[in-house]
């Protein structure tokens, strides 16, 4: 099964058709995606600033992490669901879009950074939970901050460059030239 045929199946699925044909499904889903992205970025920032030692330095990292990452996961779940729904509407165009590809890469890198942090750095958390942070933790915090900001910015960039594969409903301004 080729990538092209998978994309065609996604784009011709019932969900994709519903998203394209039901006004204002796309607009509401996209608005929820923006909300999710903003929340992921904002809550990740709280944990990252703690890792960098720039905020909450007297509060245990394990505590800050547990408190905020619950919100991050809820927001991330919403982002994945809404993002997937948006992807179905124009799978071929999204897949070929450079900003989308870079966003996927940044997401992957952010996930990898988080996994490495959990598997390696966080193992010795008892030693630095409240005290001075190891360099690996600070690097993980900085990378996370940069990668999640990149994810949000590249997501915005998709809107500037992508275009749509279907007729734009009347009264909708997409902010870029349409055919």
């Amino acid at each position: 099964m080729s990538v092209e045929s998978v994309l065609t199946s996604i784009q011709s699925s019932a969900v994709a058709e519903w998203m394209r044909d039901t006004n204002p499904a796309m607009q509401i889903v996209e608005s929820m995606h923006v909300l999710a992205a903003v929340l992921v970025l904002g809550t990740v920032l709280i944990a990252d600033l703690r890792l960098l030692g720039l905020a909450d330095s007297r509060r245990a990292f394990s505590r800050v992490g547990t408190e905020t990452l619950r919100l991050t996961w809820v927001a991330f779940g919403l982002a994945v669901v809404t993002g997937s729904l948006m992807f179905t509407t124009s799978a071929h165009t999204y897949f070929a879009n450079t900003a989308f590809q870079l966003k996927a890469l940044a997401l992957l890198a952010a996930g990898l950074n988080m996994a490495l942090f959990q598997l390696l750095t966080a193992r010795g958390i008892a030693a630095w939970d409240v005290g001075k942070l190891p360099r690996a933790a600070r690097v993980a915090g900085l990378l996370s901050l940069l990668l999640w900001a990149a994810v949000v910015l590249l997501g915005r960039w998709i809107g500037f460059t992508k275009g749509y594969d279907f007729t734009i409903p009347p009264g909708v301004e997409l902010g870029f030239p349409t055919p």
């Binding site: 607009q27 509401i28 923006v34 903003v38 970025l41």
Partner: protein
Amino acid sequence: MRAFAEWLYGTAPSVAIHSTLWLIRLLQATHLLTAGVAIASGLMIALRALGWQRADEPFDAVWRRFAPWLTGSLAVMVATGIAQTIGDPVREFTATSYWVKLTLLSGCVLGTLLLARTARRATADFSFAAKLVAFALIVCWLALPPLGRMIGYDLAIWGGLSLRE
């Protein structure tokens, strides 16, 4: 309102903004990033008032932790929002979402200040009324990003209630 927006669109600052594509994109991107910081900070303050986050810390400590981030990011968010409005006033002023967003944003700022004032006066936990304000604040903060995106889709979202013709 439309006449004013059309006049504003022709002024030198508006022309400078809407004719510079990279500036529009920079303004939108900065607005989005600072919205993340502002909304997360505002949410943490409201969640603490409800006792759903950092309940082991006094409200004042949570306020001192998040208020500077809230103030700083809000200032940049509002400045970039104003610049975007000047750049495309007809699109913004004729969108119902824009006015609802501004109203809710004002409510968020006033409500958060009210919570901080209540906390300074209170000797014990927050009253039921203060918790109600905190809950309303969470709803309002969460409504801001979708409303911002909906400005582009005003007719589709609001139908007859849209100010756009």
